[in-house]
Symmetry: C2
Amino acid sequence: MPRIDRLFSVAALTVGLLLGTTAHAETGHATATHAAAAKRKVIIDDDGFALMQAMLVESGDVDVLGLTSVSGDLWANRVTAMDLRGLELAGRSDIPVSAGATFPLVNTEAQTERWEALYGKLTWKGAWMKNWVEPTQQATPPYYGPNDPVTLAWGDPAHKPTGELAANFLIRMVHKYPGEVTIVACGPMTNLALAQRLDPQFASLAKELVYMGGSFNPRQVLDNRSAADFAREFTNSPRREFNIRFDPEAASIVSRAPWRHITVVPADPSTATQQTPELIERLAKVASPDLARLIRSLPTGFPMWDEIAAAVFLDPTLVKQHERLYVDYETQFGPSYGDTLSWREHYQPGLGEQPADVIETVDVPRMEALIERLMARSRKP
Amino acid sequence: MPRIDRLFSVAALTVGLLLGTTAHAETGHATATHAAAAKRKVIIDDDGFALMQAMLVESGDVDVLGLTSVSGDLWANRVTAMDLRGLELAGRSDIPVSAGATFPLVNTEAQTERWEALYGKLTWKGAWMKNWVEPTQQATPPYYGPNDPVTLAWGDPAHKPTGELAANFLIRMVHKYPGEVTIVACGPMTNLALAQRLDPQFASLAKELVYMGGSFNPRQVLDNRSAADFAREFTNSPRREFNIRFDPEAASIVSRAPWRHITVVPADPSTATQQTPELIERLAKVASPDLARLIRSLPTGFPMWDEIAAAVFLDPTLVKQHERLYVDYETQFGPSYGDTLSWREHYQPGLGEQPADVIETVDVPRMEALIERLMARSRKP
């Protein structure tokens, strides 16, 4: 049946499920309308396609208005293709994909190499990564140019991006649904910064921003090789996190924009999570065959950075510890370029930086159970 | 009897005690000579006088060549007076005191206020402190100018400083005893940086540098009001520590100088320590009446930053966790001015920054027992 119908029929159940009520768990047209009204509108802005996107598009509680791609871990053209193909495998090619920024606002690959000569080697450089500094369990991804042709291991997408640029799509959506759109951003913030400078109303017209980015005081929690490898990203630079470090100026623009609410999912809660082979298999088993194929192709050993963002958006009760802090990012081109800046109330400079709910720890078993329930929804007729 | 005699008579005992041997625990002239030869030469460079100094001057294992004052928590003229008076109360006015730098190399009080307007309030500003940002259990120290006359609660010293400037004294001593002098530095590094730029041989002629400064990833360990108050210094700025932040350029100069060995005692191990009223009383009880008076005047609730530096110098087995890292400090006048920079091997830029042993945790009960043993020595005839 058309996907839109399926969406309504499961929405009633899911709203009840996720809101912890049974009031909406009725059937019939009135309920579908009610559920549609209650569905939270989301745009996913990211530098890849993985479990996080699958979680949100499978949730009946959420109306994913679109995906916007951005360069970060990969160049944007590769991410756009992954978004299109990922949505096809999730059976959600009805969701539009808009291509986002290829380059950060100020930062460049060449500038980053000069920075490293002055200030020391970065552990992870995303699309600019050529080699790990030390032997690392995770494979080095292939190195591409920003315009290299894209062929995906998942198969190439049959669908095309909208033709509307990501920043324009973001602006258009918050004007169409003022105060209703949550932006879940899990890559560099280039698109969001461009949107804010294109339209100063952008941030204030959104409902909220939930983003994965920044790093406060993370500690290695899990005792295995992958966890130790990833700890190298923060042990000697506790305030540095890749999404922000790739485009620090964008992150500062976004952090100083007048959002109604900001939720920050920094590196900190991710150190208690890991995309293990066991978890991947557990999720693939319950998913539809197509989505299972995508899930089984995901790299293992990684902290579940983005999935935490989707999870706490879907179910805020997963949050175990959080703190309200003013947050901004360093834009001076020195050793701390891109570092997270935070202040308790009374200490902040008051230059536009916003208070944000910073997530410190989450309930990992319950989060994994949520992801499993969401993946299982992909099998439903 | 003259203090120098007492020194020799106890030295034999202490060297045996601290080195864990009995070979030196003999009597007579030969032993005194042997012990004197085995005594480790130390210069204490600091911005105050408290337990740390008392520990080193009471240790028979150590030959304190002199104290050098520097501005930091207090202006240098106040520290010079405290050094002189402190040594009198410890019965060690034979140790020379040299007055050190009044002002940091580049940083100033006015510049720090402009910095705060741009980047947020500092928790502690030392000699430049006028008010706590938030209510704080620790008293705000009186505010003085750099040349205000000094009157001490301990009584004013009868002795005078040497007349030789601290940097010159430091240089002269490492030339007099090449490869033999340990510098224990627990304040801003202005004197050491001046010495290094006055004489490029300075660092390489010292035996080692042991300093309290920097901050890596500290966490609040103790659960009380003072510990929570002090956690405000690092929770939102894990890489900022006052000694370094007062004179970042000096800290970077010193960190890039060619020392034979560097031990860093950052804020990290201090969060498990506290100068409690109980500890103060325990130490005062065993000390000489004069030293007990000084000990009872010390403020309570403070982490024992400097005492850790003296303790791990006196007994390296107190160190529970440490790591060898390359260390430098940020000198760009941005939000991270003065922040600690560190790199594992292979990641460092190689611009002169030195590998250092960074102390992460210490055995606190054994450290307190060591301090107690040392204070008890002040009563010995």
